[in-house]
């Protein structure tokens, strides 16, 4: 044995955390066991969850293998994968998939970039901090329906405020709803307007959990503000960014209310030539306008598959980056 050092520091190091897992793990089953209580607590949740979420998810798969309509919900003919085959051969599906992708990119990329910038601004020492944050979140509190109705008016061809403004600065009026790109941009603007503030707050929360010492160390190393943002802030935010990318993408794949209400006449075709038809809207159209439920179910599963692929890719990227960091 060596010199017994003073017992104080050792005592601190030895402080035993009583094994972190609280409720005792069970070997011998005794009356102390609280095992069954866990089920009692999750039971109400899983009853509702199972009946109205899990069961429908799976049943949709079953429906997608049938030719069935809304008026004939009990019956229907089993047709195997024909709905999926039809879907893949359908011009409507590919059009909707393309539109979903472009609107998704148009809505997500600028949205997250702006949110990042906004979070950076909100992270300064501010007067009226709460005011700015709350105002940024107002669009999130506005419903899709309300936001779309307002923006449909702002983007109106003849009397819309945006065209009026364009004209005032000497540009031409744009038929926002009629064109492919213009309509998709307009819808992307609605999505961006609603979600930028929300994502900014998420980034802000993540920024505030970065330890200040990191910035001080970078500053001592002579990093400029911009370099600090690039080399300290962004890398620290990477998990959060990945998270918001996934969430926004899942939201974008499901885009429905905006294209439904943007036309202003309640049709489900996504514009006269389907220029802003999305997968979510197509699925609704197949089921509730064309009453082809089996086809709609196949579309819903296709959407889920797309989401799975996206999430999977993101998970892989995240893991690779994490490994590269190690």
């Amino acid at each position: 044995m060596t010199i017994a050092s003073d017992s104080r520091p050792r005592a601190v190091a030895l402080q035993p955390p009583p094994p972190a897992a609280a409720p005792p793990p069970v070997r011998r089953t005794t009356r102390l066991t609280r095992n069954r209580w866990g089920y009692a607590y999750v039971a109400p949740f899983f009853l509702v969850f199972g009946a109205f979420s899990l069961f429908p998810f799976l049943y949709t798969a079953w429906v997608s293998l049938h030719r069935t309509s809304l008026s004939n919900i009990d019956g229907g003919t089993f047709i195997g994968l024909e709905n999926y085959r039809n879907l893949l051969q359908s011009e409507f599906f590919w059009n909707a998939a393309r539109n979903t992708l472009t609107i998704g990119v148009l809505a997500t990329v600028p949205q997250l970039c702006m949110a990042l910038g906004l979070a950076h601004l909100l992270n300064y020492k501010l007067r009226h901090r709460t005011f700015f944050r709350t105002v940024m979140l107002m669009p999130y509190a506005t419903s899709i329906a309300a936001a779309t109705l307002v923006f449909a008016q702002l983007f109106g061809r003849d009397y819309g405020l945006i065209n009026t403004a364009l004209e005032a600065v000497g540009l031409e009026r744009i038929d926002w709803e009629g064109g492919t790109w213009s309509s998709q941009i307009a819808i992307a603007v609605i999505v961006t307007w609603r979600w930028t503030g929300y994502n900014a707050l998420i980034y802000l929360a993540a920024m505030q959990s970065i330890p200040g010492e990191l910035y001080e160390a970078a500053e001592i190393d002579g990093a400029s503000r911009w370099k600090q943002f690039l080399h300290v802030t962004i890398p620290s935010l990477r998990p959060t960014i990945l998270f918001t990318v996934v969430i926004s993408t899942i939201g974008a794949v499901q885009l429905f209310g905006e294209p439904l209400l943007f036309s202003g006449n309640g049709t489900t075709s996504g514009g006269t030539s389907g220029q802003y038809q999305t997968l979510g809207l197509l699925m609704y159209q197949q089921g509730w306008s064309n009453f082809h439920i089996g086809q709609a179910a196949a579309t819903a599963w296709a959407m889920f598959m797309i989401i799975l692929v996206i999430v999977g890719v993101n998970a892989v990227i995240g893991r690779l980056r994490a490994r590269a960091d190690r």
């Binding site: 005592a11 035993p16 793990p25 005794t30």
Partner: protein, 366 residues
């Protein structure tokens, strides 16, 4: 009031090979203050939690009084517990915290109020009964946790490192207060700590655990004077006992270039297995002797603490290849001694201050 008894009590965590508590046999007398002490992971907290009913007992049994409580839930054991982090209910006032157990037990409101008031008086908490825990200082929270235990008037108090969240000064103060309070109430108490000073100052008896095994349970003085094995010898006391292992030679044990005398029969028994002997001597029992007597050391560092001084030294002529048994020796001397680093000293150990252990078993040899 009641006795407490562990009988071959064993706890094995799932997914773990080694028992966290291995066949613990321990009897606590009625009204006794027993301290469980040991390093991290030694099973002291687990033992206490087995007694509390918060941890399963995989085999063996636990008794409170004459009652086998091995399978009883905590509430049927008539115990009260003070937790390391106090575990005060944050949304209840001090008074409500203290009275919660009585309320659950269906005690009449007036009686609860009376008992809470009495406990608050003892603990000097009367002014804080309406406050929430977060409005209290650390020391006050600690007292509320104590109060919550004493209003119950339980058969046994269980205390799990109740002082570890206090700063050093307050810890020393509270230590004496708790010991006095528990003495006064006369309630059987099992107290867990990692701090051997706390254990030695508070316990009627102290049980030292390591790796789930009870190594020695004895009164503090006994533990200090006659440690049963190398671990207890090194664990109890600060600075710790000097423990040196060397080859057994005629008349004693070889320390560096000299031979430290060890009584013949003890030497023979300790060295029987390995030919080597572990000797222990406390820093304060070393005496400066003239050159040629005892053994020689070289001073590395001298620490002056005011009331006394410690010399951190190294055996002169120690075998530099003996890396497993670096032979350093700590010596307590008079304060303001003129010893300087590099100086060489001769040390002697009085025969009655010498502890001898068998290095093969680590057990004491008398």
């Amino acid at each position: 009031m009641a006795t407490v008894s562990f009988q071959q009590a064993t706890r094995v965590y799932p997914n773990s090979e080694r028992p966290a508590v291995d066949a613990l046999d321990l009897d606590v007398a009625d009204g006794e203050f027993l301290v469980l002490v040991g390093p991290s992971g030694c099973g002291k907290s687990t033992s206490l939690r087995m007694l509390a009913g918060l941890e399963e007992v995989d085999s063996g049994s636990v008794l409170i009084g004459d009652r086998d409580v091995t399978d009883s839930p905590p509430k049927q054991r008539d115990i009260a517990m003070v937790f390391q982090n106090y575990a005060l209910y944050p949304h209840m006032t001090v008074g409500e915290n203290m009275g919660f157990a009585l309320k659950l037990a269906g005690v009449k409101k007036t009686e609860i109020a009376g008992r809470v008031a009495a406990a608050a008086k003892i603990l000097d908490l009367e002014a804080y009964l309406e406050r929430r825990p977060k409005a209290l200082s650390g020391g006050q929270r600690q007292r509320v946790a104590m109060g919550r235990a004493i209003v119950r008037q339980p058969q046994v108090f269980l205390m799990d490192e109740p002082l570890s969240n206090l700063d050093a000064k307050l810890r020393v103060q509270t230590r004496t207060q708790i010991a006095a309070l528990v003495k006064r109430l006369g309630t059987t108490t099992v107290y867990v700590t990692h701090d051997q000073v706390e254990a030695m100052t508070m316990g009627d008896r102290v049980a030292v655990l390591k790796d789930g095994v009870l190594l020695q349970c004895a009164a503090p003085a006994e533990l200090y004077d006659r440690p049963a094995n190398v671990f207890v010898a090194g664990f109890i006391g600060s600075p710790a006992m000097n423990l040196v292992t060397g080859a057994a030679v005629e008349g004693g044990v070889r320390l560096g270039g000299t031979v430290l005398p060890v009584p013949r029969d003890r030497l023979a028994r300790a060295a029987a297995a390995s030919g080597r002997v572990t000797v222990g001597f406390r820093p304060e029992s070393l005496q400066l002797v003239g050159p040629g007597e005892g053994f020689e050391v070289v001073v590395d560092v001298a620490e002056h603490l005011g009331s006394d001084a410690y010399l951190y030294t190294r055996l002169a002529g120690a075998d530099p290849d003996d890396a497993l048994h670096p032979a350093d020796v700590v010596v307590r001397t008079e304060p303001r001694s003129s010893v300087v680093p590099g100086q060489s000293l001769w040390l002697g150990v009085p025969p009655d201050a010498l502890h001898v252990f068998d290095p093969a078993t680590s057990q004491r040899v008398d």
